[in-house]
Symmetry: C2
Subunit: 342 residues, 2 copies
């Protein structure tokens, strides 16, 4: 058996095992979250926070932070506050995104803003960001390391906002290209998927190359993950109250749209943009089905599959450059992530 | 003439002179803002930012940052990025507050969310916060100092969110006390008015006592300033589209309400809470006038004046403890601030 064959068999995984290891690692931050958001204090802020958190969530990003730190020989206890910060950041974005997108449901319960009002939704998200920075500062490391973590956290936060700005302002946009889309999702999802792993590597005292490799891995997996999410939007309701096709209703720049608006014949592209531009409440089931038909006629689903595969393969290549004995686990994580939804 | 008399005459100031000095100092951050938000880049983010900033604003907080740094013998050039961070933070809160309060006008132009939509309003505010942290990190100082600035920035941000949570969730609240109100405004306005001065002092390498004195000064002046703002809400339209009495329409916990709801006879207090609880659009001119009558009958305006004076006097006392030759200027700033609106 060659090494390459061995790699391939690593990908053919027992997803349950990977899921459990990630789950165990991710939930190690729960006591840290409990300390940062004591449920019996500051009820106007902590109650909405726990309302949101108790809806679930996989704790994937903190798990990757802790396991990356360990893989590079670091003490992951020291990475716990940073891992918590990454999870808080992720959830802060969800709280704000739900308002920005007008999504009333999250994880099969009312979104924070739907339960507590828009004002609290915004302010609780802001406060969560404050707590996230507090957690970063709580990292037990020297000043230079802590500053590096803050610096990286700020960069990632800004890139995510930039991706979100693009997402919000290029809805139903006929001039959207696939490259635009890929740049957007790299900003919006790649960097902050990388954040935990990069932080874990920095806390482990890794060399710059290893830090960069984790950065690349995140920027490969983020888009792969998001492309899968775009496709899943037409297959599952994603905990948002039963409807499929939310991205179509919201006119979101998905890979399916970016591909089809460029590949479809002119009149079909017009029709596509017209449906995407409709206000959410005016978009009918027939409209959604019509868009799906256009996507199908343009081979958009196959294009999405191929593109996700390219990113996934780059992810597998990045894994081979992680200076760890535990590459097998990271290969399995890549496989796991692109087979599962967020 | 005794020293005390000399102090008093310092308070009898030419406000134009103070205003000009603050104005000149505050606008020293303009090039820094230009570098942080290049107008020809990232248009989905920078255009709304400049839309907001071009409405005006006194640059009071960055001015106080730079002048505090100089007063303690520091090089205020080194404080420019921090001063910019404080101004960005202040404006980020305004951008989010306008959404939270449903205020469509700010500085006599449409609020960011009213011009660019709620989604962009939230996301632009988030991004501004990212830029603010970037500015803090840009401070030319050693690692320990920069970490201290970040730490203080996070603390202040969180306290402001806590104050805002209180503000949002205790509207038309019959159980509100004056102490509750004062705690809220200290959190919501005091700490972040102090932020610039404290940062300036830290950058100047001041002793802890001096840093604490500036902290106290902010926590004296913030409430004094806010109390004046509460009263002004019934006298001026504050750039929000012509209407007075916005705090009443929004049911906000002002000092006038906090005092009157506790001092008024039971049936009048009921009536007061009832009007404050009405949705903004249902509140009539007569309702506003009725509330003003209740405030008058409870001596609320006199109470507000006295309370503001107490805080102002504490501010004057704090100024006497600033280890600088330039106390006269800070005395004048106190006088200036409590005579002017935000």
């Amino acid at each position: 058996m060659t090494g390459r064959n061995s790699d391939m068999s690593d990908r053919d995984i027992n997803t349950e095992e990977v899921a459990q290891r990630l789950h165990r690692a991710g939930h190690r931050i729960d006591p840290v979250l409990g300390e940062l958001f004591p449920p019996d204090e500051k009820k106007y802020l902590h109650e909405p926070f726990w309302h949101h958190m108790e809806g679930g969530g996989k704790r994937l990003r903190p798990a990757l932070c802790l396991l990356s730190c360990e893989a590079l020989g670091g003490n992951s206890e020291r990475a716990l506050p940073f891992a918590a910060a990454v999870e808080i950041l992720h959830n802060m974005f969800l709280v704000h995104d739900d308002i920005e997108d007008g999504d009333t449901m999250r994880r099969d319960r009312p979104a924070v803003w739907a339960e507590y009002g828009t004002g609290n939704g915004i302010n609780v998200g802001d406060y969560m960001l404050g707590r996230a920075y507090r957690a970063v500062l709580n990292t037990r490391a020297d000043d230079a390391t802590r500053l590096r973590l803050v610096d990286y956290f700020v960069d990632t936060f800004e890139l995510t906002c930039e991706g979100q700005a693009f997402d919000l302002n290029r809805r139903a946009d006929r001039s959207l290209t696939v490259d635009d889309y890929l740049e957007m999702v790299t900003r919006k999802t790649g960097h902050y998927l990388a954040l935990g792993m990069v932080g874990g590597a920095i806390i482990a005292g890794a060399a710059d190359e290893a830090v960069e490799t984790f950065q690349e891995l995140g920027c490969d997996l983020g888009p792969a993950f998001q492309i899968r999410d775009d496709v899943l939007d037409l297959q599952e309701a994603k905990g948002r109250g039963g409807a499929i096709g939310n991205d179509i209703r919201e006119g979101k720049p998905s890979i399916l749209f970016a591909h089809s608006v460029n590949e479809a014949e002119s009149d079909r592209a017009d029709e596509l943009v017209e449906i995407m531009a409709k206000p959410r409440e005016d978009t009918t089931e027939e409209d959604v089905q019509r868009v799906v038909d256009i996507y199908n006629s343009c081979g958009a689903f196959e294009f999405a599959r191929q593109t996700a595969e390219e990113y996934t393969n780059r992810g597998f290549e990045a894994v081979e450059r992680i200076p760890t004995e535990d590459r097998q686990f990271f290969r399995r994580v890549v496989s796991y992530m692109v087979e599962r939804s967020s």
